[in-house]
Each structure stands twice: as C-alpha cells, then as structure tokens.
C-alpha cells in the first residue's frame, strides 16, 4: 500500500527536489504538496477542494511559509486529537536554536536542517525515507482516525 506523504513547502525548487529524491528512494510514496499553512490545514481537515484528501501517514513541514507559518501549522496539528498522531518532521533552513527548541516544545517528531547542496538534499530525503518509511512503525489509519 502506498504511503501518503504531505509536504508543506513554499519553495518550488525544494518541492521539486523533494519529489525527485522520494521518487528515487521509494516508489510507494504518494507525495501531496501544500504551499502555505492555510492550504496545509485545509488538506488535513479535508475542507473545500480537499474533501477527498487522504490522511497523510507522515508530514514534512517547512517553518517559513506564507499565510500561516509552519510553527502555527505545527501547533494546530499537535493540538488536534485526530491529527496529532501523524509524525510531523520539520525540514527547514533555520538553524536558530530558538526554532529548534520551539519545534520540540510544540511536539514536532524531529527537526532537520534543509541542506543547500543538491547531493546533501537528496541524502537527507533518503534518510527520512529510510528511517521513517522502513524502520519506524507509523500509526495505522484506522486506529488513529
């Protein structure tokens, strides 16, 4: 069964790199993309055009986003009884200790820095794929809904 992954990322270049790296690493991923925090929450809550959206098995979240930023989206996800069980990984260029600490306080599952170099970007996406899609046990759709 394919894994449903929601990528919340406003940079078209980073979206493209992430899509390609996941495609290389794992063909059983359906990657969905939201380019701002408001669209992400609408997808997760299946509002409007997203009424048929699947529940993601896994979320990759940038911090700096238009409309609603990643910190607020993370807080909404982790305050929601149904959504909080979805592993949510921060992938951001921010190396600020305040952002790292705040993300863990809001119960991000882990915090990763987005590399600037192409090969390092591919490596980090492959690490995410290896660890979260093959080693970790993710909550099943049925029970967590």
């Amino acid at each position: 069964m394919p894994m449903e992954v929601l990528l919340i990322e406003d940079s078209p270049g980073d979206v493209r790199l992430t899509q390609e790296a996941f495609r290389d690493a794992n063909t059983y991923i359906h990657l969905h993309v939201a380019t701002d925090g408001v669209a992400a929450m609408a997808f997760l809550r299946r509002e409007g055009v997203h009424s048929q959206a699947p529940r993601p098995d896994f979320i990759v979240l940038d911090l700096n986003l238009p409309k609603m930023d990643g910190r607020e989206a993370l807080a909404h996800i982790k305050e929601d009884y149904d959504l909080k069980t979805i592993p949510t990984i921060i992938l951001t260029t921010s190396e600020a200790e305040a952002d790292i600490l705040k993300s863990y306080q809001l119960q991000a599952n882990c915090y990763l820095n987005k590399p600037v170099r192409l090969d390092a970007f591919e490596t980090i996406v492959k690490s995410i794929n290896h660890f979260w899609m093959t080693m970790a046990k993710l909550p099943t759709q049925a029970i967590s809904e």
Binding site: Y104, L112, S127, M135, L138, P139
Partner: protein, 158 residues
C-alpha cells in the same frame, strides 16, 4: 566561521547523553555494544524500571548529578511504572517534553503504536529479535537521530 570555531563547537557537542530505559539485561547489553561499535561519543545511561527512569530525569536521590539526556530510548513493558506512564510524564513535563523520546519495544500492537504517538512519542520502533537486525537498528538510530537530526540545545532546555 574559522576552523578553530568549528572545532570548538564540535568539541562542545561531542558527547551525546543517551538514556536507555530497558529492563531486559540482554537488550541493555546489545544496545550498549551496538552503540559502542557505531559511535564512541555516546554516553549511555540505563534505568531498568519506570520509577528509576523518572528519578534520573528529575535528578532525584542518587541521581542528583545525572546529566540531562539528549535522547531517550524507552521500552513499553517495564516493572514498577510502565513505559506508557513514563512517556506520559515526560511529555507532560515542560522541561522534559523537548527531549526526543523514541519507543523501542517488542510490542507490535496497533493500539500501542497509536497510543504512543498520541502521547507524543517522537517515534515508535520495534525491537528486532535477531542479533544482526538489532545491531542495524541501533546503527540506524545513531545515523538518523544522533547525526542528522538537530536535537534541542542543552543550555536553553536544561
């Protein structure tokens, strides 16, 4: 950044304090050996039941000088206070909740997986039964959590 500064910051972050909460002496031994093989900068601390784990984390009694862990590996089935209760207490405590806490258990029950994520476990892993698989899992934990992941800073969160 000058090479000296880079070296300085690497030195400061060189040791990783890893806290293993595990009652099986065999699994403690395997975890210790696997970490020793993959990462010599890991300081592994062990508690064998949930009550001892909370005393370590809160620096009570004999643990007054215990370091704050950078990372916790928590079994679910433990004597005295089980891992679910330990997890709930860690994640309700404002100063402890930022420590990445990864469940490492033989339980494959979907209820345990879902409840652990609901209690805000950072990740859930099954403990393999085969020796080589156990080693490779510890290596993966080291490669991902202790190498790639940015852990919360010690100073602000300690």
């Amino acid at each position: 950044m000058s090479p000296e500064l880079i070296k300085d910051s690497e030195d400061r972050n060189m040791f990783r304090e890893v806290f293993l909460v595990e009652d099986s002496p065999g699994d403690v031994r395997l975890t210790r050996e696997a970490f020793r093989d993959v990462n010599t900068s890991v300081h592994l601390h062990v508690a064998t039941d949930g009550v001892e784990a909370m005393a370590f984390l809160r620096r009570e009694g004999a643990y007054v000088h215990a370091p704050r862990p950078d990372f916790i590996l928590l079994d679910l089935n433990l004597p005295k206070m089980d891992g679910r209760e330990v997890l709930a207490r860690i994640k309700k405590d404002d100063s402890l909740k930022t420590i990445p806490t990864v469940i490492l258990t033989t339980s494959e029950a979907e209820a345990d997986v879902a409840n652990s994520y609901r209690l805000q476990a950072n990740c859930y892993l099954n403990k393999p039964v085969r020796f080589d698989a156990f080693e490779s899992l510890v290596k993966s934990i080291n490669d991902f959590w202790l190498t790639k992941v940015k852990l919360p800073p010690q100073a602000q969160s300690g």
